[in-house]
Symmetry: C2
Subunit: 234 residues, 2 copies
DNA sequence: AAGAAAAATTTTGAATGCAATTTTTTTGGT
DNA sequence: ACCAAAAAAATTGCATTCAAAATTTTTCTT
């Protein structure tokens, strides 16, 4: 039983092997995306139990695809499953935050290194543009704009790494951090803001020189500082 | 898996808030673990469709918990879901391998850096012991033993990083690479073997000195070389 | 025979059903 | 009124069912 019938080669030739658009393809995929967004947007409080029936009604589906999505979100770390007591929104402890930031730092460090190997001149120019836009926001104390451009820059670096698995992993962890509201801090901690701005100058500089190892290091420390500022502010 | 105990202050002190042992607690959790092992062990050929009915009979369960596990394994990248055509074992392309190795390199680099911050003298002594055991295997061309100790060393470094999220992520990717058989190469490529051995000397040295940044770099390049050797050998 | 069309079978995706457990409500004693 | 025990209701975890789609088998045509 379950023997590997490897010689299906014949029909595999032209095959219509679409790896499932993952999102809207199946009900499961759609619900997964929608429910993840729903939670990340903060519609369910931390530690709150996930109301299956309500969500089913809300999405207009039965419990089966919803529960499939719950298992996936639990494996992503967004929910936790309690035996016979369903799923809860996982609370981010200080420890979780610390660990997550370090992992993000490691992933960004990797992204920076790989980006230096692969980024085009055009992309660097684009990062420069974003950088100066961000700088503008900094000068006029536009926190919202600053964070927008900041994210765009980091995202661009990850993109330039040309590594889909890295990008997916990065996105997954970034999603888990989305519930954390950073803005509040920087407003009061003006020193951290200018420090962050200086770090970004160094990031751009290393990227221009395509100094992978150096950029890798700067990015890790950049995240470390972000982490420190956040933990202190709490 | 990715667990961490919530200390939701507001609620109450003694609460019975067990975050679900994830493994044997529910049928879903148990099946998830067993099915993952089953696939990683290579019992289903790459690209082969996953026979739901057979697996249900084999595990003695209904399709519901099995299908929940399938969605999770797909989100882990072990399977792919094709609309109306079920799950297939995801084939690792050369591109996937390249990307996976780089991500592993990034994670090991991070682990090395964090380990230097947290490792105890006793743990370093343990790594030293493993290193010399491994060296012994190298001298007497015991490939199997070499790989055992090699894995133990890398695992020890990840442990010493004191970051559960990193450890879980690392384990997940390592699982995906478990299907790849490395041994075959090194036997023929004796140069790579001695090069790897030298790299391990450098790893141990940097770890002793707790030179995080340096160790980080060595580890990334170590994985890069492993990747190169593997791709060349294919 | 070979290939196309049709029919039968299997598989998939999702809804529904059901026993066990947990949670809430009610009740009764103090 | 307060609290514990009992009863009722809701929720959970998994099995089962069912329509739609895919796959295989059979039949028909040339």
């Amino acid at each position: 039983m379950l023997k590997s019938v490897a010689n299906n080669a014949e029909k595999m030739a032209a095959a219509d092997e679409r790896p499932a658009a993952e999102a809207g393809a199946s009900l499961h995929g759609e619900i997964l995306t929608r429910l993840r967004d729903y939670i990340v947007e903060g519609n369910l409080a931390e530690g709150e139990r996930v109301p299956e029936r309500e969500l089913c009604e809300m999405f207009g589906i039965s419990r089966t695809p919803l529960r499939e999505a719950l298992k996936v979100l639990a494996s992503e770390g967004l929910l936790e499953l309690l035996p016979n007591r369903g799923a809860r929104v996982r609370a981010l402890t200080k420890r979780d935050l610390t660990e997550l930031f370090d992992v993000m730092g490691g992933l960004e460090a990797l992204a920076g290194r790989l980006a230096c190997e692969n980024i085009t001149d055009g992309e660097i120019a684009e990062v420069e543009r974003l950088h100066y836009e961000m700088y503008g926001c900094y000068l006029r104390r536009d926190m919202h704009g600053y964070f927008q451009f900041n994210q765009l820059i980091h995202h661009k670096v990850v993109d330039a790494a040309r590594n889909a698995i890295l990008a997916a992993t990065y996105a997954s962890f970034a999603g888990r951090l989305r519930r954390v509201r950073f803005s509040a801090n920087m407003a009061r901690d003006r020193d951290r803001w200018s420090e962050a701005m200086r770090e970004h100058e160094a990031i751009l500089d290393a990227l221009r020189r395509r100094a992978g190892q150096e950029l890798s290091d700067i990015l890790f420390l950049h995240l470390r500082n972000k982490r420190r500022a956040l933990i202190e502010a709490q």
